[in-house]
Amino acid sequence: MTAARMRYAMVIAAAGIALLFAPAGAFGQEQECPVPERFYAFEPPLTKTAKALAGGREVVIAVLGGASTVGLAAGGPNLAWPARMSSVLAGKFPSARTKVVNLAVARQTAKAAAERFSRDVFPLKPTLVIWETGTMEAVRGTDVDEFRETVQAGINELHTARTEMVLMNMQFSRETDAMIQFGPYLIAMRELADANDVPLFRRHGIMRYWAENDFLDLRSREAEKRRQLAAKLYDCIGHAMADFVTRGVAAAKAASSPGSDR
């Protein structure tokens, strides 16, 4: 079958590209769910996080988000992507002490999350805040301009508190894409990230890429199988996010010492 062969060729090509860009396997995603280079390229560096990691003190990463960050579908927070990211990061930076705090609440709006910055987030003294958002707004059809203003205000607040951040957009699913209009909210988040020089983890695009290339088919009728699929998905996202952060840190190091090799 040409289609099967083509898909096979694409997998090989993707793996080839992943290898090409992975210096000594440092960033190599476990082949199960590779992330193409275009999702990492051109993202701004994580300067403060790089410094904190090198500094030796405890580095707190706070995560805000919705149900998919809580990890409900997989069965619990220890299988959620922040927990998975945490263990991968611990392996990547063995000399640093990282602590990931998952503050996600299912069905929380961007506005409700932003209101928690001063109350729940800043007391933790985080070096990095990962903000997963946009889902509730797309589901409810919140005014895109209002969403943009809310997130911009949140970015400003984090900026004032001198906390570094990463934005993360929505999940992709074949079932809902024709029902829920994600487009305008995805564009708004991309523009926000771009205009504020904030790294954007494009989960929607990455998950779409996985679905497109048959790395991860999340459809199943059995409840237990679905739970396992969710756990696998969150593991993949956790890995990808850990790579994303590692890349941001590496880029910051490269920028601070222009003479040295990356």
């Binding site: 024709a178 771009d194 739970r227």
Partner: protein, 394 residues
């Protein structure tokens, strides 16, 4: 607009049909998910997109047709004709909603049995079908892609009164319309809420978009009859040209930056966001569509040779049957969603789905034209907003 010199305003203005057809194609293409082809529609060369073009042209057409009807047949007959049209649009809206419900019912099982159930569950309207259906009938429930018709319906519903106002105090009406638009820009709370709340609003705020529509109505009614002299002023043309060029440069720069990040952004979007609201028809969107319309009206003759050529024909016939082709485009974009998300296939597939959709739209329009001709009347094509020529005959 500045077609006072044309032999008679009664002749069909092909520009209206052509650009409405273009807008219909763009609306369809822009609605496909993650579509590469959408980088080449109207929105990549101006701040406005096909929605503004569609509403402005709808206003112009309504002004042409019902303005004439009001002068010849009186307020009551013209009013009844408007409400007949409103009824057609409403039926179309309900029809589209029916299709949407069918799709939701079909996919709901899959959604509830997915790991997204918790996150996207709030989008499952079948939880309370009674409320959802009733709210759709009152235009308060506007599922994905079903936003323009409700706007068009409410605008047409108040049209007879606005036109009666135009007849007596045109300046006052235009001023009030503009002030209402301005008020929305200053206070976002001037909006209509939608189901399922609590914080949803009409994706096209009627209090803002009315300004574009009614300006179109007035220009369609008075401007075409050569009664708006300042439309022909040279400084206005230069202003429009400058604005359009600025819009083109900035928007194109953003598109290129999206393609390849290292291409620097000339004007940061952050500075312009407040003027680019689609919901509230931000200043730049409003101004850009007017500027481009003025340039088009000045440079292209209503019966320009290009507009009767074979190349323009697909656009013209789709624009002429706009309501049907619009609804068809919405259905096709939903189907296109399903196809693209099931089979993916990258850019070639996106091109294929876009091209297939446009081809179906053209075929159906051609069929309608043929049927109308076969019936020996112009009734068939009157399904779009009636046009000037027909308005006179009818």
């Amino acid at each position: 607009m500045s077609i006072a010199s044309s032999p008679s305003a009664m002749e069909r203005d092909l520009r209206i049909d052509f650009f409405r057809g273009l807008a219909l194609f763009c609306i369809f293409i822009d609605h496909l998910p993650n579509n590469f082809v959408a980088e080449f529609t109207l929105q990549s060369v101006m701040f406005s997109d096909a929605a503004e073009v569609f509403i402005l042209i709808s206003g112009l057409t309504a002004g042409l047709v019902y303005g004439l009807a009001m002068e010849r047949q009186g307020f009551v007959i013209a009013g009844v004709r408007v409400y007949h049209r409103v009824w057609q649009l409403y039926v179309a809206h309900v029809f589209l909603f029916m299709m949407f419900i069918a799709m939701v019912a079909y996919t709901a099982g899959a959604l509830n049995n997915s790991l997204y159930a918790e996150e996207f569950g709030a989008a499952n309207f079948l939880d309370e079908p009674g409320v959802a259906v009733a709210k759709a009938l009152t235009l308060q429930f506007q599922p994905a892609f079903m936003h323009i018709l409700p706007l068009y319906i409410v605008l047409l519903a108040v049209l007879p009164f606005v036109m009666a106002g135009f007849r007596s105090w045109p300046r006052v009406i235009l001023f009030v319309s503009f002030v209402l638009w301005l008020a929305v820009q200053l206070d976002k709370r001037i909006a209509l809420s939608v189901y399922p709340g609590p914080d949803g609003v009409w994706p096209f705020n009627p209090f803002a978009w009315q300004a574009l529509f009614f300006l179109g109505v007035w220009l369609g009614w008075r401007g075409t009859a050569g009664q708006v002299s300042w439309l022909g002023r040279r400084w206005l043309f230069c202003l429009a040209l400058g604005l359009s060029l600025a819009g083109l440069m900035i928007r194109l720069n953003w598109t290129l930056h999206d393609f390849y990040d290292p291409i620097p952004v000339l004007v940061s979007g952050k500075l312009l966001w407040m003027f680019l609201s689609k919901t509230d028809l931000g200043l730049l969107r409003f101004a850009n569509v007017l500027a481009v319309a003025l340039i088009v009206a000045r440079l292209i003759h209503p019966q320009a040779r290009f507009l009767v050529s074979r190349v323009a024909r697909p656009f013209v016939i789709c624009g002429r049957n706009s309501l049907h082709i619009f609804c068809l485009g919405i259905l096709l974009s939903v189907l296109g969603h399903l196809v693209l998300n099931e089979f993916f296939g990258g850019i070639p597939m996106q091109f294929a789905v876009s091209a297939a959709g446009v081809a179906i739209m053209i075929s159906v329009a051609a069929l309608m034209e043929w049927f109308a001709a076969a019936q020996g009347t112009s009734r068939g094509s009157a399904l779009g907003a009636p046009t000037a020529g027909r308005g006179v005959r009818g």
